[in-house]
């Protein structure tokens, strides 16, 4: 009996112990879970504290700067403080003055202006300022000190309108027409002392500048390469290839593409089409409306060899399709019959230049330009005046011009150039140019 009760007691005791152990285990698990949760909370709080500390540090750095500023009494320049006491002077435009002095020594014995001379070839006064948040006005006036041609010229004066729909840019006024590369540059900004022959012969001695309107935009394309299309309607005044009736404008379309070959090499291709009128009179008259078409191509390769050295290869080619009746003859006795042949007009003048320019040190660059043209032939019979047939441009001209440029500063350079020319009249010339270009103030020509 005792054994029986003892067994029951032990069994009961063990049963109780097992139940208690299970409860204890559950309790422990609950505690562990709570600890895990607390650890996560602490970890989150630590992260928050860390972030807050970083923010405090950043704010502290700002406070330190502000305190330093107060201590030192140094003013911050953001935005730049307006000059005190200047009042309306702040509204003055940006002003730049550029001088271009050229010495020219030539074999030619003719005592012409420009032969064996030293002149301020160009003094440019450039002004520009925003008119309102969406428009800007730029103007450049040039003064020329050449003995016979002293003059003042409005070189450029144009309004640029930004923020047009679809990303258009619009310009109105006197501009340098978007023809190739060289014509866009002021002559003081060229790599050479003189303009390429094809530019001076087809357009103007100093490059063509014309009143007109320009509209420009990038053409969207799947390759995301810059394809810039420019359309211009221009007054025909001032370009050698166009003349006559001013109400017949010149239309110009220019397409430019640009390829980044690598971080240091790029290549630009351009094409130009001009359509205009050369309104010759007398026996030269042919189709007198939009009888001149000019097609041009330009290519520029640039290679930045390092932070200083840069190679540029550039070429432009122009071809004209002119619609004039040949041969040119005159009615000498007034009987209505053109009885004297006086020559012929070149209906397909063309020309090109090729330029290699190498900047080989921070201050020095050198290069050479080769020019070749079959020039325009001129006939002007409006006064019944006969023109020497030798001027009808039946031959070609070429020129080679090596040069060395010393860039004293970004705002001052000196250039020595030698040019050998064989012109269409069979006359050769050797010339030496020494150019000095200097600038004060702002030169805000837009990017090409």
């Amino acid at each position: 009996m005792f054994k029986f009760f003892s067994s029951v007691f032990i069994f009961t005791l063990l049963s109780f112990s097992a139940t208690e152990a299970e409860a204890s285990e559950a309790y422990l698990q609950s505690i562990q879970q709570q600890i895990t949760n607390l650890q996560k909370t602490i970890s989150g709080l630590q992260e928050t504290i860390q972030n807050q500390s970083q923010l405090i540090d950043a704010q502290g750095a700002k406070i330190t700067i502000l305190e330093t500023k107060i201590e030192k009494g140094v003013s911050m320049v953001s935005p730049p403080p307006a000059p005190k006491g200047l009042g309306l002077v702040n509204w003055n435009p940006e002003i730049g003055v550029i001088g271009d002095v050229v010495t020219h020594l030539t074999e030619s014995t003719e005592d012409e202006d420009g032969n064996d001379s030293l002149v301020v070839r160009e003094l440019e006064l450039a002004f520009g300022q925003y008119i309102d948040p969406h428009s800007r006005f730029d103007a450049a006036i040039t003064l020329n000190d050449a003995l016979e041609d002293q003059n003042v010229e409005i070189e450029q004066a144009y309004l640029t309108r930004y923020d047009l729909p679809l990303g258009f840019k619009f310009q109105l006024g006197k501009i340098r027409p978007k023809i190739g590369k060289a014509n866009l540059l002021d002559r003081h900004a060229l790599e050479n002392v003189t303009e390429p022959l094809v530019i001076s012969n087809f357009f103007a001695e100093e490059g063509w500048k014309a009143s007109g309107v320009r509209i420009q935009n990038f053409i969207p394309n799947p390759w995301d390469i810059p394809l810039e299309l420019t359309g211009e309607v221009l007054n025909n005044r001032g370009a050698a290839s166009f003349s006559g009736i001013r109400r017949r404008p010149v239309f110009n379309a220019h397409l430019k593409s640009f390829f980044e070959l690598s971080d240091t090499k790029d290549f630009e291709l351009g094409a130009t089409t001009l359509l205009g009128t050369d309104n010759l009179s007398g026996g030269a008259r042919g189709n007198d409306q939009y009888n001149v078409k000019i097609y041009g191509f330009d290519a520029t390769y640039t290679h930045h060899l390092d932070g200083i050295r840069k190679l540029k290869l550039q070429s432009e080619l122009y071809f004209q399709d002119r619609d004039f009746r040949n041969p040119v003859s005159l009615d000498t006795n007034g009987d209505g019959i053109e009885d004297e042949f006086i020559g012929s007009i070149e209906n397909h003048p063309w020309g090109f230049y090729a330029l290699a320019d190498f900047k080989f040190s921070p201050r020095l660059s050198t290069g050479v330009r080769l020019d070749y043209i079959k020039p325009l032939g001129f006939v002007d019979l409006s006064d019944g005046v006969r023109i020497d047939a030798s001027r009808f441009g039946t031959d070609y001209s070429w020129e080679v011009s090596p040069y060395l440029t010393f860039h004293q500063r970004e705002f001052c350079l000196f250039r020595l150039q030698y040019s050998h020319t064989e012109n269409a009249q069979g006359i050769s010339d050797d010339a030496i140019y020494l150019q000095a270009r200097f600038q004060i103030g702002v030169d805000r020509h837009g990017l090409q």
Partner: protein, 306 residues
């Protein structure tokens, strides 16, 4: 005429395949591009204009830069007169919102303490004076902390829905910078107060951070090439002050610093002033790392010679 009109009609062609969610940003330098990227992360697409190995003051933007800017949401630049080509580039884009003060441009000089703000009349007879103060402010990591905050504020303004992400990126980078600043200062402490010569006046912020004294310039005036007379004067200063370190950017000529080095025993170091200028300067932090390492090694070399 039909050809002309046909060509003009191309102007209104639709835009192709542009990702709409990312913020397209053009910066003037690769350094700024790197700092924008650390804040913007994958939400931004960043292009830069100035090649790292060229003098940032005189860069010719390319047509591709104009196109990129014309399509960008934000133009980030150094402000002041750091980039003389900045305004023509913004104008060529045809969008006034990128002009100085416009709503889609960010001037990173905002809120910085600028050094060397000139006083009195200015002219180029003083060299290439920076009329608003020295603009090479990113060479101080302390300024970088303010720059990234400025970037985060602007990105949050442009994309408020991603503000939290920009702030997280900002805080993470500020943490990294703080750690590195402690490390850099520790390395530079032994050389505090040491005089140095620099080629161009690009380093006042770095010198301020490192506690170095700029005792002379290879250029007689900012941007003016060294003359024989000036070099003689500089040699006198270097010998008198026992200056043993010459700092220059990689794109300045080596001839004159080498000549100074030969006559004084000074060490010439080419420091990257822009991310990407040297292979070591892969990003902003590694650029400053490279600067600190080179400066430290130069002084250690000097010590070993002494």
């Amino acid at each position: 005429m039909p050809l002309f009109l046909g060509a003009l009609s191309l102007f209104v062609a639709p835009d192709f395949g542009l990702a709409k969610n990312e913020i397209k940003i053009v910066t003037t330098t690769k350094t700024f591009a790197d700092l924008v990227k650390v804040v913007g992360g994958d939400l931004v697409k960043v292009d830069y204009v100035a090649p790292p190995n060229q003098n940032v003051h005189f860069v010719e933007p390319r047509p591709s830069d104009i196109l990129r800017l014309s399509k960008a949401d934000l133009f980030v630049h150094g402000g002041l007169d750091l980039e003389l080509w900045r305004a023509p580039l913004a104008e060529a884009s045809g969008k006034s919102q990128f002009f100085d003060g416009g709503p889609r441009q960010l001037d990173l000089s905002e809120g910085l303490l600028l050094l060397e703000i000139p006083e009195g009349p200015l002219s180029r007879a003083q060299g290439d004076i920076h009329v608003f103060g020295n603009p090479h402010y990113w060479t101080s990591p302390e300024n970088a902390k303010i720059i990234v905050k400025t970037i985060a504020d602007k990105l949050s303004e442009l994309s408020p829905e991603n503000k939290k992400l920009f702030e997280e990126n900002l805080n993470r980078y500020l943490g990294e910078l703080d750690k590195k600043i402690l490390e850099w200062k520790e390395k530079l402490t032994p050389w505090k107060g040491k005089p140095i010569v620099v080629y161009h006046n690009s380093w006042p912020y770095l010198a301020d951070f490192a506690g170095l004294e700029i005792a002379g310039f290879v250029e007689p005036k900012p941007g003016i090439p060294p003359t024989a007379k000036h070099i003689q004067q500089l040699l006198g200063i270097m010998k008198e002050k026992k200056i043993k370190v010459i700092i220059k950017e990689t794109f300045f000529e080596n001839k004159t610093p080498k000549k100074l080095s030969e006559q004084t025993g000074a060490v010439v170091i080419n420091l990257p002033i822009s991310v990407g200028e040297t292979k070591e300067a892969r990003d902003y932090i590694s650029m400053i790392d490279s600067m600190v390492t080179q400066i430290t090694q130069a002084f250690e070399k000097e010590m070993s010679h002494d």
